[in-house]
């Protein structure tokens, strides 16, 4: 039997060199100039609106540069899945990309991951005991992905939840950072994300000063992580204020 193995044709392997071409680090020691001309610690200007989807209980639309996301929230409502009685409500998240969201047409690879990450980010902020036996459904649709989609999805989802009147401990703001050689850039675009050595995403509740989710990928040194976390938390609190003012605006528009 051992002899036969050598006769089987070798399975095709793509040549390893083609993958490494863009990984040769371009910036050891050099400064990274951001394609959209921002400073390294400057976030993209944001456009936030609630009430984007009429039919949903609550919804929000967020635009951070080229990343455009619509989140709609349904509920609390009955769900066929939740047959057992439970004291706590259930949260169900779903993230999907439109086919025209990425530069190359087709399903983006991370959308399955993103649903469970959105769930983990939001479940710490929602008061689940306020809607026992029912389910809140959060559906996020990425219309265009221009870098750091998950933080935008999370912030937009928390706006939509507040718009739907679901009880929250606090708004959830999320910001991500990229490490490119020795540069730390906040709120990366997709080009920067593809070149990054490491990525850090923090989701926190600004007024409570509590972090609901932190995701670290790639290589990081300890001082860099400290610096990155501090920058992210500052940016999150600023984003929290912007979200709050967006909600206040929606409230003061003529509505009896």
């Amino acid at each position: 039997m051992a002899g036969k193995i050598s006769n089987t044709p070798a399975t095709y392997m793509p040549s390893p060199t083609s993958q490494n071409k863009k990984m040769s680090s371009i910036f050891t020691g050099s400064d990274w100039v951001r394609p959209d001309g921002r400073g390294p610690h400057q976030c993209r200007p944001s456009f936030l609106r609630t009430g984007a989807v009429n039919y949903a209980s609550g919804s929000a639309y967020a635009e951070f540069g080229n990343t455009k996301v619509i989140v709609s929230v349904f509920g609390p409502r009955e769900s066929k899945k939740a047959m057992m009685y439970s004291d706590m409500g259930r949260l169900n998240c779903n993230v999907s990309y439109t086919s025209f969201a990425t530069p190359i047409r087709g399903q983006a690879s991370e959308s399955k991951d993103l649903s469970s990450m959105l769930h983990k980010a939001l479940e710490g902020a929602i008061i689940l005991e306020s809607f026992p036996k029912t389910t809140v459904d959060v559906f996020a649709l990425v219309l265009e992905s221009g870098g750091s989609e998950l933080p935008v999805i999370i912030s937009c989802a928390s706006l939509a939840l507040a718009d739907a009147g679901i009880m929250l401990y606090d708004m959830v703001a999320s910001v991500s950072m990229s490490c490119l050689g020795k540069n730390l850039v906040i709120d990366p675009v997709s080009e920067e994300e593809s070149y990054q050595d490491g990525g850090l995403m923090i989701t926190c509740m600004p007024s409570r000063n509590e972090v609901t989710q932190m995701t670290v990928t790639g290589e990081w040194s300890t001082p860099k992580i400290h610096e990155a976390m501090q920058l992210c938390l500052d940016a999150c609190s600023k984003l929290g204020k912007i979200m709050r003012s967006c909600l206040k605006e929606a409230v003061t528009l003529p509505q009896e």
Binding site: Y169, D170, V251, T252
Partner: protein, 326 residues
Amino acid sequence: MRGLQLSLNKNQKLRVERALEQLESLSLKSNSDASVTVADNISVDCEDAILKGHGTTELDGRVVATLCGVVERVNKLVYVRALRARYKPEIGDIIVGRVIEVAPKRWRLEINFSQDAVLMLSSMNLPDGIQRRRTAIDELNMRSIFEENDVICAEVRGFQHDGCLHLQARSQKYGKLEIGQLLTIPPYLVKKRKQHFHHLEQYGIDLILGCNGYVWVGEHVEVKDPMLVDQSNKSEQQNADSENSMSANEVETCTPLETRQNICRTANAIRVLSTLGFMITVEVITEIVNLSTSLNLDIHEMLGPEFYVLVAEKEAERRSSLRKKR
């Protein structure tokens, strides 16, 4: 962004904005500092004696809001009332709902609430009107009373421990609603009043304002009070029964065109009012319908931008005249 997106031209936009501004200035309580968003501080005088109500939670000794809305204070109770609140059922509310499932000994209704409501077979009058125990045959014949997708009017009887609603439809005025339109409006536009059943005589239609935001506009149905039906009427009923079996076939031709047009007009009036976010009451609805007939507008024009603007202006007028009367 919410609501019917109408393309208003410049002039119409100006008129609408002016009317809405006028309404805002007329509103009695303009305390914008009472509106809070999530995790805003709620100012309390002495924190020990405050009852923290719905929509609030405690954080580090402060009271913070968990909802976006307006802070209401009643004596020692502080709570946050959400602006676009979900329907909050109370015992005795009149509800309009749609049957989504026929289950053993009950019907499940969808009523624009977080859970489906339940109408037990025992809370429903049997077709023959006799008060008796429901047998297995009654259970098998449930479908002849209500089927899936039927629209039903009922009253909230109570809550179960898990928050599920129980309904009852034991009176003649409750039951299946047949010829008409069911409209969905935000539930906070319907205030709890003494009367939710309205009969508009001049149009010959019935109007049921369900507290859950489902409004029924339909052909008028004579409600026979069973207490008044006595022996002398029994023979009448027997004749009526034989007639009913014939008229069931001709029921499509029985509703006159004018009634149907009135139903559509009233429904459109309610749609425009709910898009503008005004409270839905019978007086306002009849005024709007009169407005549309006096202007000789076609029924479909009522959903157009011009009528939208006219309704906003009319409401501003009405409220300012009410204010002056006071």
